[in-house]
């Protein structure tokens, strides 16, 4: 059996006396999209940052492409991973073109501009039109599209998304979710999507992992999750999202 693209094994992370992650294990296969769902403070962003080597863990291990994150150079690790935070995190003093070319440029690519051009086309922000703009000259949705282009420009094997649609209005969010679904079909990139929105998880993910207080409650396909919640917490989450009773 092939090694999963992303794997967490019994991960423990404490902040002071509070356990943010309390023995989390999860495996994501190559090409798969897994949504990590939970409320604020459930530990989902902490796990995502552990995969990036941004948050040192107190127990267990995280693997990216079969390699223990603590055993590799974190800078090289991160350059191989695409990352999109909630607010985009574009560099405000760099143009759209330069932002999109960031990772290929860091990696020393021969033609970072070419990579940026391709990635910007993928997200519907052609370089000819938007390349010279500053981030502040874009709408929130456009900024998120550029953030996706930046994350994808170096053709990473893995994409880590931290509430990438969380700050957008409903219409823009729907547009960007559609864009993401399309580009995932085109690239087949392995994705870990952190979200608090069960609808979004159901729409975009192959499997959903529900996290509560640093523990995994259930990992299942969206259909399985809705039809047979493993714990009362998962059931209540589904009920609150209005997904109970097999609706749609």
């Amino acid at each position: 059996m092939a090694e999963p693209a992303l794997r967490a094994h019994a991960v423990v992370k404490r902040f002071g006396g509070v356990s943010a992650l309390d023995g989390v294990s999860i495996a994501i296969d190559a090409g798969e999209c897994v949504a990590l769902v939970g409320e604020s403070g459930s530990g989902k962003s902490t796990l995502l940052r552990a995969f990036l080597g941004l948050t040192p863990i107190d127990g267990g291990a995280v693997f990216v492409g079969g390699q223990d994150v603590t055993a590799v150079d974190p800078v090289r690790l991160r350059r191989g991973i695409g990352y999109v935070p909630q607010d985009g995190g574009l560099l405000p003093h760099w143009t759209v073109a330069r932002n999109a070319a960031l990772v290929p440029w860091l990696a020393g690519a021969a033609t970072p501009e070419a990579a940026a051009t391709a990635a910007l086309d993928l997200v519907g922000m052609p370089l000819a039109t938007f390349g010279a703009r500053w981030p502040r000259e874009l709408s929130g949705g456009q900024r998120q599209r550029v953030a996706f282009a930046r994350a994808l420009a170096a053709r990473p094997a893995v994409l880590l998304l931290d509430e990438p649609f969380g700050a957008l209005d409903a219409i823009t969010r729907s547009d960007l979710q559609a864009m993401f679904a399309t580009l995932r079909r085109q690239t087949g990139v392995t994705t870990l999507l952190v979200t608090h929105d069960l609808h979004e998880a159901r729409r975009l993910a192959d499997r959903v992992a529900v996290l509560c207080a640093g523990r995994v409650e259930q990992i299942a396909t969206p259909a399985m999750l809705v039809s047979s919640p493993a714990t009362p917490y998962v059931a209540s989450l589904i009920a609150r999202a209005g997904l109970a009773g097999g609706v749609a």
Binding site: R49, L52, L54, V75, R76, L77, R78, R79, Y83, P85, D87, G88, G89, L90, L91, P92, H93, W94, T95, A97, R98, A101, L102, V103, W105, L106, A107, P112, E113, A116, W134, P135, R136, A147, R150, A151
Partner: protein, 526 residues
């Protein structure tokens, strides 16, 4: 467009600039065999004048001299003498006794001089030449009209009316043991109000009636210009203040011709002469060098040459603009020196301050260290210079170090604040996408910090131009020279000839840095 240069390597440019500026260090003329005798003075008219008399007399006998006029105060001038930064300056026996030796007053005029010259030779290897002949002691003065109305003749009389007197004293008189504290303890004189006044304004203040009692000096040229009555020190609280040349012992031994030449002045200058010469400078506005020349001719120590024959015209006959224009070469040279002091100290402060700020920005010690740097700014200039004197002497080095220290705080504060406030999401994303910490600093934090950082640098630079006038206190040159001398000589024009170019320089530096800021600040942040 997608190049690697986000900051246009200002530090490299700064270092290169610093190196070239240091290479242009103004070198003192070095005569290996016979170094020039360095003559110092303190910043008041009589001290300038006596130092200039010393200088011209030595020059007339073929002895090379260097002038370091207007050194901060006794606390600067005396350590400079002991350290060998200057060779000779005019001093007073009473000051030597109270300020330098910190001894209680003893006996009469001769006894004090004897005690001071013996103690200084023993403790500091400093040689006092025989006194010049006059005393310059405190002449506590009231308006003659008031003296007659209240029947004031002595300080004891004044003490009886103390509760109704407003006093205007120079700052050091208020603190010196034989000053106000001495008046209080000996006479019980307790003025209703005590105002600290600059020497230049105290006569105007008493003439206008703003104050009733001032600490004039017995040789002040202005003393006879106003209707004032000097109160007798009937309980002898003031020690004798015999004027004399004070010389480094090693110079006295190795250059006997210097001692012989300066001793020509001993016993030759009485109080009337000195007061008249001071009046030429302070009241009539004649240049110090011209009055020194007149004095030496008057004493028959130099020939009545072409220069001596024509009585120097007071500058006051020219309009201010014409006066400044006539001295444009000197003003340009002082401005260049001023700009040089500011540039070198600022470059060093920027390189060090930004580096320190960057180092501190990720440290918990940032607040404490930044505050400590801020405390440096509260140290008065004279105190800082006096403290550094044993290590750095006088001249450009202590000036540069003082300016460097005074410029650090706004730069460190600006750097720490700017870097810490830099867009957290951008910094986080840049790290998560694989920038090294150094790349995050160079390509993200620093460019984003630039507006705040540059605000700190501009504040420091404009302040630096103003503060650089304190270089005059330690012979560092620059536009402080005419300001300090002008304040001492009550010469408004001389003050303006330093203050106006300094103000223009400050504005110019700010405009130039605004351009640099625009160039360094990323477009969307402008």
């Amino acid at each position: 467009m997608i190049g690697g240069r986000s900051i246009r390597t200002p530090f490299i440019a700064g270092l290169v600039g610093l190196a070239s500026l240091l290479a242009a260090w103004p070198a003192a003329a070095q005569e290996a065999a016979r170094p020039p005798i360095v003559i110092g003075s303190k910043p008041f008219a009589e001290s300038y004048l006596l130092a200039e008399v010393f200088a011209q007399l030595l020059e007339s006998r073929g002895i090379a001299v260097t002038r370091k006029a207007g050194l901060g105060a006794t606390e600067v001038a005396f350590p400079a003498l002991v350290a060998g930064a200057i060779d000779v300056f005019p001093e007073y026996s009473g000051t030597g006794l109270l300020v330098i030796l910190k001894a209680p007053r003893v006996g009469d005029r001769a006894a004090v001089f004897d005690r001071v010259s013996r103690e200084m030779a023993r403790r500091y290897d400093i040689r006092w030449l025989p006194p010049l002949g006059f005393e310059n002691t405190y002449a506590m003065s009231v308006r003659t009209e008031m003296a007659e109305r209240l029947g004031l003749r002595t300080l004891s009389d004044a003490a009886r009316h103390g509760a109704s007197l407003k006093a205007g004293f120079t700052a050091d008189f208020i603190g010196l043991p034989d000053g106000l504290p001495g008046l209080r303890s000996t006479y019980g004189l307790a003025p209703a109000e005590v105002h600290a006044l600059a020497p230049a304004v105290k006569y105007q203040a008493i003439a206008a009636g703003s104050v009733d009692l001032i600490d004039a000096y017995s040789t002040d040229g202005l003393l006879e210009r106003y209707p004032l009555t000097v109160l007798e020190d009937d309980r002898h609280v003031f020690p004798p203040y015999d004027a004399a040349a004070m010389l480094r012992g090693v110079v006295a031994r190795e250059r006997p011709e210097v001692v012989a030449t300066l001793t020509l002045l001993s016993g030759r200058i009485d109080v009337t002469r000195m007061r008249r010469w001071n009046a030429r400078v302070e009241v009539e506005g004649v240049a110090v060098a011209a009055v020194a020349r007149e004095a030496l001719v008057d004493l028959g120590l130099v020939e009545t040459g072409a220069a001596g024959a024509t009585v120097a015209t007071p500058r006051a006959s020219l309009s201010l603009v014409a006066d400044l224009w006539s001295r444009r070469a000197a003003i340009a040279a002082m401005s260049a020196r001023h700009l040089w002091l500011t540039s070198v100290s600022m470059l060093a402060a920027i390189v060090f301050g930004v580096a320190l700020g960057l180092a501190l920005s990720r440290s918990r010690a940032a607040e404490g260290v930044t505050r400590a740097v801020g405390v440096l700014q509260t140290v008065p200039g004279i105190a800082l210079l006096a403290f550094m004197l044993p290590f750095l002497g006088i001249g450009v080095w202590p000036s540069l170090v003082a300016l460097f220290l005074y410029s650090l705080y706004p730069i460190v504060r600006g750097t720490v604040t700017g870097v810490r406030q830099a867009d957290r999401q951008a910094v986080d994303a840049a790290t998560a996408l694989g920038m090294t910490p150094r790349q995050v600093l160079w390509f993200v934090r620093l460019p984003l910090a630039m507006p705040v950082l540059m605000a700190g640098i501009r504040t420091a630079a404009v302040t630096n131009v103003g503060t650089a006038t304190l270089a005059a206190f330690v012979g560092g040159g620059g536009l402080g020279d005419p300001i300090v001398a002008g304040l001492a000589l009550a010469d408004t024009r001389m003050i303006l000839s330093g203050a106006i170019p300094a103000a223009l320089l400050a504005a110019l530096v700010d405009v130039a840095l605004a351009g640099v800021q625009r160039w360094l600040t990323p477009v969307p942040l402008r």
